[in-house]
């Protein structure tokens, strides 16, 4: 294995470099290229071929990324391969990339990696291990313990660990097309890093306003909300995967206290090109739950204020950068390439791995042709179209805004519009293709029609005159039965997908004929006569969402529908606001929009109350010790940021609720148990014996749990809170108590839960209240009077 030896030598060299701190400035730039997007958006195609090898204007995507990295001055690229790693490595080994001067490409292979986070962790671990081995080597040589075994062991390790990150690196995925210059961004990053060691990452962003109607960018990605400090360009807030139900962005108050000026952006696009410091790798290791680069890592850093790591942004203006995240971005980026936004990575310029094509100017539009095309005279090839080598086009066929690969055969009277047809595709006469992707080796029998948004995976055969419905995906492979609706599962499923695939692929060649016959038998009606393949049922998000990421343009009616929905949305928001504002004003002359926040805190307290109630009920059921309940309620209190008065109120509330719920025993006449001379005769229609029972229940519960309640009654205010809470309950949620108000008040007094001061102060407070508010004061009048007299007597 000559290559491996070479790697070992390179690693040793790298180790030497890293030990020399003076050399830091001149270190060659490195890049980590993730040759896997860890998503399933390109299925079913990605079941058979890795995403980075999918042709983009007839060139595998990874070539764009590598060519850009080379041009941007990166000296060493580590290509991290997971799914279909063998295909990627084979491709790279046969490509020119391994033989470039001043540009080394190394591959890292791992199969049990299911996310970008895992990949970076692996790189970090091997980095560290390498240093360890270097130390070990030194130690060995120092102690002159030349143990042969030890050496072989170390060398074995070195063979595996043939790479090392020793400075800032570019983190990019293999599906990125760009022509930006890294110099400035890199310079900024280095300067920031010098001043502030916590500036670990620079994100490249580009202006691109998402459509307010569909709420997604032109690349089909979700709209992105970012807050950036306009002076330092520090990223302060990042929200992709926007939660549409939430109509507001919530900026932490500390954020504004620290930065008097913040720019909030909805018009930027994340290019997924990051310049990272080596710390980023260790951060991934420290936080083993970071999976997704953006959703976990970026958000994690932004939220974590302990370590104080900072992320900065660099905006590019005139250059191009985009990542192919879904079918829509595939479509858009392809068009951008044809329209030469990505110059020099365009069809007519030779860069690594493609053959330059001849450009013909037709009017103001371009059409790229290759010399060896057999084109019938009557065929019309429209603007913005690229046609690969050895493709034959029959008479009267019309092709526009499309990319057609190499060695395709297109019959006559074929209509191709806005479609991507890869290599060796056979399209028979009279087919119609609009806004579709057709993979290698597909055969379309005469008269077949592909509706917009269709994706035909490798070697599918569409039967004669068969119409493939819009947005359907057709593959020779059956749809994996495990459906992942959950975000987390996406990764897991992905890995299983690859495993499953590899097993299929192993047998695919041998059993190809067998498989096709089998599938064609089973699914003949599905794809017309002679058709081969499965139409995948649309899952994940359902059909409604399919149009968002498809190659086809968004249909008109969808847009209208959405913009109407948007109106309703807005209406709801405003209605909400105005409704709230009135309530907000009643409290004071405070502003209207505060109502919104009030609502929030109200929500919080409602949740808190519910949680406490649940805790309490569980405690009663399971006979939990009072001390433990106190602990639990305390932790709830901390997490909801409540006062002890709130706790007291909530605990009391749950106790009273329990009293109501407790099945009434048959005991009657318990009234005498708490003979209260002060209570008025219950004027309510509620049966008196029931009240007695209820009172008994209440008394029991209060006796059992008085310790819990008391632990929150630190001051008189909390006691008053309890009375107020009780009053509120009697009026609203638990009217059963209303005739018993005075008696229960008395019980509470007897149990030393309420001091007389609290009761008297409550009565005083109510003095000035409305008549309707004073019902309960009236009811307990005698009791209060008695209390007053008693206290006077004491004096």
């Amino acid at each position: 294995m000559g290559a491996q030896k070479k790697r070992a030598a390179a690693a040793a060299a790298a180790a030497r470099v890293s030990e020399d701190p003076d050399d830091l400035a001149r270190q060659p730039l490195q890049a980590i290229l993730l040759a896997d997007s860890f998503t399933t958006k390109f299925r079913p195609i990605t079941l058979e071929r890795p995403k980075v090898l999918l042709p983009l204007v007839n060139v595998p995507m990874i070539n764009y990324t590598l060519a850009w990295l080379e041009a941007a001055g990166v000296a060493e690229v580590f290509v991290f391969c997971c799914a279909h790693s063998k295909q990627v490595i084979d491709y790279l080994e046969n490509s020119e990339w391994f033989s470039q001067p001043n540009f080394t490409v190394k591959t890292i292979e791992s199969h049990n990696i299911i996310s970008a986070g895992d990949a970076l962790r692996l790189i970090y671990e091997q980095n560290v291990a390498l240093v360890d081995i270097a130390c070990l080597l030194k130690l060995v040589s120092l102690s002159r313990l030349k143990l042969a075994t030890c050496y072989t062991l170390t060398i074995c390790f070195l063979v595996v660990l043939s790479f090392k990150i020793h400075g800032d690196f570019v983190l990019i995925s293999g599906d990125t097309v760009s022509n930006m210059s890294l110099t400035q961004a890199l310079q900024e990053h280095k300067e920031r890093k010098k001043k502030d060691n916590n500036a670990v990452m620079t994100m490249i962003i580009k202006k691109s306003k998402p459509s307010p109607i569909t709420r997604q960018s032109r690349l089909g990605t979700d709209e992105l909300f970012m807050a950036i400090d306009p002076n330092t360009k520090q990223l302060l807030y990042y929200e992709d995967k926007a939660d549409h139900s939430k109509g507001t962005i919530c900026l932490d108050k500390m954020l504004l206290a620290e930065n008097p000026s913040i720019s909030l952006h909805n018009d930027k696009q994340d290019c997924y090109i990051d310049i990272c410091s080596p710390e980023v790798l260790s951060l991934f290791t420290d936080n083993f739950d970071y999976q997704h680069l953006r959703r976990h890592f970026v958000k994690g850093l932004l939220l974590d204020d302990i370590m104080g790591y900072k992320i900065f942004t660099h905006e590019i203006h005139s250059s191009y950068a985009a990542r192919i995240d879904n079918y829509r971005s595939y479509d858009i980026v392809s068009k951008d390439i044809i329209q030469r936004w990505t110059y020099p990575y365009v069809p007519d310029v030779k860069f690594c791995g493609n053959r330059a094509t001849k450009l013909e100017r037709r009017g103001i539009c371009f059409t790229a042709f290759n010399s060896e095309i057999e084109q019938s005279r009557s065929a019309q090839v429209g603007s913005f179209t690229v046609i690969g080598y050895g493709t034959k086009i029959g008479s009267n066929s019309k092709i526009s805004d499309s990319v057609i690969g190499e060695g395709c055969t297109i019959g006559s009277n074929v209509l191709i519009e806005g479609s991507y047809i890869w290599d060796n595709v056979i399209i028979e006469d009279g087919c119609e293709l609009r806004h579709v992707i057709v993979c290698d080796g597909v055969i379309m029998k005469a008269g077949a029609v592909l509706k917009p948004g269709v994706v035909l995976s490798f070697k599918v055969v569409i039967g004669e005159r068969f119409v493939v419905p819009a947005y359907s995906k057709v593959s020779l492979l059956q749809q994996p039965t495990v459906h992942d609706s959950d975000e987390e599962l996406e990764y897991a499923d992905n890995s299983s997908g690859t495993v499953e695939f590899s097993s299929i692929q192993g047998t695919a060649d041998q059993s190809n004929g067998e498989m096709t016959s089998e599938s064609s038998e089973a699914h003949k009606p599905k794809l017309g006569t002679g058709g081969v393949g499965y139409i995948w049922s649309i899952c994940e998000g359902g059909q409604e969402e399919e149009w968002r990421h498809s190659v086809a343009p968004i249909p008109e009616d969808k847009l209208t529908e959405l913009s109407e929905a948007m109106d309703d949305d807005q209406e709801l928001v405003t209605q909400d606001r105005t409704a709230l504002s009135t309530s907000g004003e009643l409290i004071s002359d405070s502003n209207a929009s505060e109502g919104d926040d009030n609502e929030d805190s109200k929500d919080d307290s409602v949740y808190f109350e519910k949680e406490v109630e649940a805790t309490f009920l569980r405690a009663v059921e399971e006979n939990v010790k009072v001390d433990h309940v106190i602990l639990e309620v305390n932790s709830l209190r901390l997490s909801y940021n409540m006062t002890s008065a709130d706790c007291a109120g909530a605990v009391f509330y749950s106790m009273m609720k329990l009293a109501i719920k407790t099945p009434h025993s048959s005991a009657i006449g318990l009234l005498t148990l708490y003979p209260s001379p002060f209570s008025m005769v219950a004027s309510n229609a509620y049966p008196i014996y029931l009240s007695g029972e209820l009172q008994q229940n209440t008394a029991n519960i209060i006796t059992t749990w008085q310790k819990l309640l008391k632990s929150y009654l630190l001051e008189i205010d909390e006691e008053i809170e309890i009375i107020l809470k009780f009053e509120e309950m009697c009026l609203e949620s638990a009217k059963e108590f209303s005739p018993l108000f005075a008696r229960i008040l008395h019980i509470l007094y007897d149990k030393d839960i309420l001091q007389e001061d609290a009761i008297l102060r409550w009565a005083d407070e109510k003095e000035g209240a409305d008549e309707s508010d004073k019902v309960f004061v009236r009811q307990s009048e005698k009791f209060i009077q008695w209390l007053r007299e008693a206290s006077e007597e004491e004096d």
């Binding site: 109509g247 000026s261 018009d267 913009s563 807005q570 405003t574 929009s593």
Partner: protein, 456 residues
């Protein structure tokens, strides 16, 4: 100019007790020996606005203000003084005088604004975009003493207070978000819908609403009519208009639809001419239907005019602000005072008498007919008219109003002494306020207190 101007002079603000009283309403508090209201009136006069309505809360206060205005501006301005009940709030005040308002637009200015920003600039910005409201925004004033004070004061100077959180579009012409009062203490919530429409929003915590607004009159009246709970322009009306700008509820159910539409049509043309802009604002883009068809949504525009940093713009709405403004008007912003400063950078009225070895430092003012004894020292302070100050008195960073008697050997630092107050011998005051006619007995020392006669 089809603008009506309303000056909200307020009444006797509770925040400013004991400086204000029935005899001296807020509008008449002296800033460099001139009532604070005169600064607004003169700014308006400079913009050639001569017809105005001054709204005063409370009958007593109105009488005082009216009396002063008629005396001071008898030939210069045509001022109508309107009285509204106390505590109606700024929105309530406008509601009360609504029948006086007839012009297309109304400029509402707070009477306690000390500024050299021309009101004309605000009205121009308002007209340019045909906005429903244009608010003037200025930088947050740096409060506290610039010199060494107590350590607490130092911390304050380091961190300027926050009055508003303001969101604007990148061109800084439109107001997209405003948070005031208690909202500042909470996390800021920005509506996504408006962010989607505009793309980028600059949020600033270092700006504040200067309380000078240009309103579209019909909109203002409509809002005041419909939302009868709204009390304050700053806290209710403005946030409401800002909030609803993409889903306008006004204009639709106000004036007759047809007329409104016609008006709008005309406005559109005039807007295009005035704005001289080929690109429509985000409001118009947002209003358009899906394919750029006729507008389907109603929007209205809320604009801002940002006073440049070189301009002075502070509201006299707290005792600290009162001190700051007095200090600035005779100090850094002395062009506002309208006086000619001497070579020593101070103003000593010719009729003032100084004893021997008495020094009056720069950035000081000594009013007409005031007398000072020997060996006194005055630094960065304003002393009003006809004060009698004994010997060996030190006055630093303070404001002394009219007819104040200060005994020998007093030391006054960072304090306000209201008119007719009397300080007997050897009184030492630091960071105090002495109310109208209060007598501080000899030898007393106070620190950080508010001294005033008990209200009968």
């Amino acid at each position: 100019m089809d603008f009506q101007v309303v000056v909200l002079a307020g009444g006797t603000s509770k925040k400013l007790v004991p400086l204000v009283s029935k005899e001296v309403p807020k509008a008449l508090l002296p800033v460099a020996n001139r009532p604070v209201l005169s600064y607004v009136l003169e700014q308006l006069e400079l913009s050639n606005i001569k017809d105005l309505i001054v709204v005063v809360e409370g009958a007593d206060a109105a009488l005082c203000v009216g009396g002063w205005i008629s005396a001071a501006y008898v030939d210069r301005l045509h001022v109508e003084v309107a009285t509204v009940p106390e505590d109606v709030g700024t929105a309530g005040a406008l509601r009360a005088i609504a029948h006086h308002l007839t012009a297309k637009d109304v400029l509402v200015v707070s009477g306690d604004l000390v500024s050299d920003v021309p009101p004309g600039a605000v009205t121009a910005a308002h007209r340019r975009h045909d906005a429903v409201v244009t608010a003037m925004i200025c930088s947050v004033p740096v409060s506290g003493l610039s010199e060494a004070g107590s350590s607490g004061a130092k911390d304050k100077t380091k961190k300027p207070g926050r009055y508003n959180i303001i969101g604007m579009d990148p061109t800084k012409q439109f107001l997209l978000h405003i948070a005031t009062g208690a909202e500042l203490e909470k996390d800021t919530r920005i509506r996504k819908s408006i962010l989607r429409a505009v793309g980028q929003m600059d949020i600033r915590a270092d700006l504040m609403d200067a309380h000078m607004y240009a309103f579209n009159r019909s909109v203002l009246q409509e809002v005041l009519d419909q939302k009868d709970k709204f009390q304050s322009l700053k806290q209710d009306v403005l946030p409401y208009l800002v909030r609803s700008q993409l889903k306008s509820e006004i204009l639709i159910n106000g004036a007759p639809q047809g007329q409104q539409a016609k008006e709008n049509g005309n406005d559109k043309v005039s807007y295009r001419i005035l704005a001289n802009a080929s690109t429509p604002s985000f409001h118009e883009l947002y209003a358009l239907g899906p394919n750029g068809s006729a507008p389907v949504r109603r929007t209205h525009k809320c604009c801002v005019y940002i006073a440049s940093n070189s301009k002075y713009c502070v509201r006299l709405n707290s005792i600290q602000a009162f001190m700051d403004i007095n200090r600035d008007v005779i100090g850094e912003a002395n062009h506002l005072s309208g006086y000619n400063f001497s070579a020593q950078n101070n103003i000593i009225h010719p009729s003032a008498e100084l004893g021997s070895k008495t020094t009056v430092g720069p950035h000081c003012m000594l009013g007409e007919g005031s007398q000072m004894g020997d060996k006194c020292s005055v630094k960065r302070s304003v002393i009003g008219r006809h004060c009698r100050i004994g010997s060996n008195v030190k006055v630093v960073n303070s404001v002394v109003m009219n007819h104040v008697t200060i005994g020998d050997g007093c030391s006054i630092q960072g304090s306000v002494i209201c008119s007719n107050a009397q300080l007997q011998e050897r009184v030492a005051l630091k960071d105090c306020q002495v109310g109208l006619g209060y007598v501080v007995s000899a030898g007393c020392e106070y620190k950080g207190e508010s001294l005033a006669r008990k209200e009968k």
